[in-house]
Amino acid sequence: MTVQPALAVENVDGEITLETDTARRSGRRRIGGGDSKNLPLTIVLILSAVTVVVPLYVTVTTAFKTQAQAVDGNAFSLPAPFSVDGFVTAWNLTNFPAAFLVSALVTAASVAGTVVLGALASYAISRNWDNRLFRWSFFYLLAAMFIPFPVVALPQIQLTGLAGLDNPAGVAILHIMFQLSFSILLFTAFLRSIPNELEESARIDGASTWQTFWRLIFPLLAPMSATVGIFAFLASWNDYMMPSLITSDPALQTLPVVQAIFQTQFSNNYNVSFASYLMAMAPAIVVYLFTQRWVMEGVTQGAVKG
C-alpha cells in the first residue's frame, strides 16, 4: 500500500516540473552570484528562434501577396498591396470546405476513439492485472510501437479496399490503432496512481463497474485524456502518408493530401498555394497555443515511460 502514495507524488511532481523549474534554478544561481538574467544568451536564443519563424513568416506574407508580387522571387518582402485573392482562389481550387470537413471528421473520430478505447482497455487491464489474458493484452497492444505504418502499409491498403474501408473511416480506424499503444501506456501509468479506496467507496455506494468507470475513473483521467487527445489530434490532422495511400476517392482526401495539386498544376501561383498551406496548418497551431502545457508534458511522459 505504501507504493501508491509515492507514485502519486511523483506523478504530480512530474506534471508540475515545467512550472517549478524557475524556482529551482533561481535557487541555485543565487549562490553562483547575481540574480540577473542572462541577456547575451537570451539574444542567442532569439536569433535561433528566427530559424523557426522564417518559414512561417514566408508562409503568411506570401499568402497575402498578389500573384504578381508572389512570383517576383523575393520571399521576405511584405505584401504590397495586401491581397486575399490567394485565399479565395485556394478555397475554390482545393474545395477547402470539403477537405476541411474530411480532415475534421477523421481527426475527431481518431481523438475520440483513441481516448475512449484507450481508457476502457487500460482500466480493464490495470484492474485485472492478475488475469493472464489482460496482462498479455497489455503487451500485445503495446507491440504496435514496434510496427511502423510502412511495414504493414501494403496489406492494409489491400484489406481496407476489400472491406470497403478505403475511405476516411478506414483512415480514422488506422489512426486510432497506431495511437493506441501510446494512450494505453499513459493511461495505465496514471491509473496505477489512483488509490483503490476511491473505487471501493464508490462500489460501497452501489455503483456498478460501468458507472464507476464513467462517473469516477474517466473524469479522473481527464489530464491524461487531454495529453492523449492532443497527440491523437496532431498525428491525425497532420498525417499525409496514410490518407494518401488508404483513401481511394480524391474527393474524400484530407487537407494535407489535397495540397498536392500545387505541385503538379498551378505550381507558380505561390500566393494561392501558401494561402492554402496556411489554412491547413493554422488549426494545429491554434490548438497548440491553447494546449501547450499538455503538449509539452506529453512528449516527456511518452519518452520516459515508453
Binding site: 553562483g32 518559414p55 522571387g73 476502457l120 511495414v151 493506441l180 463497474t209 490532422w237 491547413a280 520516459v304
Partner: protein, 309 residues
Amino acid sequence: MTTMTVPVRAAAGPKEATAAAPRGRRKTEPIYYFFLLPSLVLFTLAITVPAVIGIFFSFTNSIGFGDWEFVGLINYVAMFSDPAILQSYLFTFGFAAVTVVLVNVLAFLLAVGLTARIHIKTGLRTVFVIPMVISGIIIAYVFNFLFSNSLPLFGQSLGIGWMSESILANPDLAWVAIVIVTAWQAIPGTLLIYIAGLLSIPGDVYEAADIDGAGKRQQLLRITLPLVAGYVVINTILGFKNFLNAYDVIVGLTNGGPGTATRSIPMTIVTGFTGGDYAYQMANATMFFVIVVIISIAQLRLTRGRNEI
C-alpha cells in the same frame, strides 16, 4: 512475477497496483472483457492480420492479386543484389544517422539555453515547439519553395555556384535539404525531453561545483552531460527509429529524386502497391520490420533501469 520485488518506479506495466492490494485471485467481472474487447479485436484486424498476411506473401510471387505460388526466400535473396533497394537502405540509414546527430546536438544546446536564467523563457519555449505541430508535408512544400526559389537567388547574388541552382535538383545535395527540414521538425520533441532531463538534475550538484571552482563549460561537460546520458540514449534511439520512417517530408521536398537519390525505405516499399512487385516489397517491409524491432529491443535494454531519471 519476480519483477515485483524490484523497486521500479515508472517501468511499463501496472504491476504495483495489484501487488499493493493483495486481494487474491478474484474472479474477473465479465464487463471488463467488454471494455478490453473492442481494442483487441480492432487491433488484431487492423494491424496483426495485415502484418501476418504481409509476411506470408513475402514468401510468394504475388503481384497483389490473382494467382501466386510459394517461392521460398527468393525475394529476400534478390533484395541483396538489387541496386534500388540497397540504395534506399544506404540513403535512409545515412540520412537517419546524420539527422540524429544534428538534432541531438542542437536540441541539447537549446535545452541548456532554455533552462538557464533568460528573459522571455516561456515565449521562447512556445516558439521553439511550434515546428512539432505542423504537418510534415506542408512545411516541406514551404521549404521546397525556399530551396528552389529563394536560396538560388541568394546564391546568385553571392556568386556561389552550387547555391545558384536549386539544391533539390542536385543529386549530391538534395539529402541536405531533407536533413534540414526533418531536423527543423524533430528538434522540438527532442528539446522537450532534454529540458525534462536538465530539470531533473538537483541544483545542489551545481552549488558544489561552484564552490569547487568549476567553470560553466566544465560544469556542462563534466556534470550536465553525464547526468542526462539516459536522455541522450532515449533521444538517439527514438529519433533514429522515427527518421528511418521518413516519408512525408521527402515527398514534399524531392519526391525521392533527383532520380532515386533520396528515396527512403518506406517510399520504396510503397512502390510495391503500383509497381507490380507486391511480394518483393513485402519482403523488403519484413526486413525493415526486423530492423525496427532490433532497434526497439536495444531501446528497451538501454533505457531499462534508467527510467528513474
